[in-house]
Subunit: 156 residues, 2 copies
């Protein structure tokens, strides 16, 4: 990422959306939770829980512990504000909480950016395949690993 996009805008938008969504649902975006969300949105690269733990400990004088982070993560997942990338054991902000909340990602193995796919085609294909087997979907995760446009451009 970093090219032709103002990332502060991403962060601001995400935080505004999060505040709105939480107030709407009567959920409390406490300081810790907001901190974790901000740290996740610091980039478009999925971040591990223990990295968040380090950053969180760095920004407040008090040393945080794993449960603090995991509880905040659980909350953010419940509210649909972040996604967990299972193949990386890492977390990334959700661009569009609410919108079906699909969780389909392109993950670049070079720059590590995880781009959420908002195209409907994949979800539709999955639903139709599942229906053919009378399978009722709870959640779907699609994690596509490869190389993004930008990194493919680099010589390697």
């Amino acid at each position: 990422m970093s090219l032709n996009h103002n990332h502060q805008r991403c962060i601001d938008d995400a935080m505004a959306m999060a505040r709105h969504r939480c107030s709407e649902r009567g959920a409390r975006l406490t300081p810790i939770r907001a901190d974790i969300l901000k740290l996740i949105w610091a980039s478009h690269q999925p971040v591990g829980a223990y990295d968040l733990l380090e950053s969180l400990s760095a920004r407040s004088e008090r040393r945080s512990t794993p449960p603090t982070v995991y509880r905040a993560l659980d909350f953010l997942l419940e509210q649909g504000l972040i996604h967990r990338i299972a193949s990386l054991n890492a977390f990334v902000g959700c661009n569009d909480p609410g919108h079906g909340h699909s969780g389909h990602f392109l993950i670049c193995k070079d720059c590590n950016n995880a781009t959420e796919l908002l195209a409907d085609g994949i979800g539709t294909a999955i639903q139709s395949a599942a229906r053919q087997q009378d399978f009722t979907i709870d959640s779907q995760s699609v994690e596509i690993v490869g190389r993004c446009k930008h990194c493919a451009g680099q010589n390697d």
Copy 2:
């Protein structure tokens, strides 16, 4: 699973396929690797590495250690004989090594069976979405969690 399917046949087929594929590729399906593969094929439910470790230790007198299991798993993954289900930290046999090796699964949260989807629609949709963003795919993982036909029939 277990209903209307002879599972011994699954195991035998899988082992035969594995032997064939390995000899074809000049890879060695050693006793440990074959044992692990057999243990994975003992059911259609993804199995964790430490469960495999237990079973392996049980069947030979000698107590095995994690690297033994993980090395065998790495080998089997490389040969395309098994899949890793990231959302479960578990491993399951591949029905059709060779065939694009997609790794698309329906995972029933009740019976835990993981059924590989061999329909092409999903892969095609993913490829087209990736192409639109000039993303080059290395590997794709699709993990759909929900309830299978059989378990939906049960009252719960």
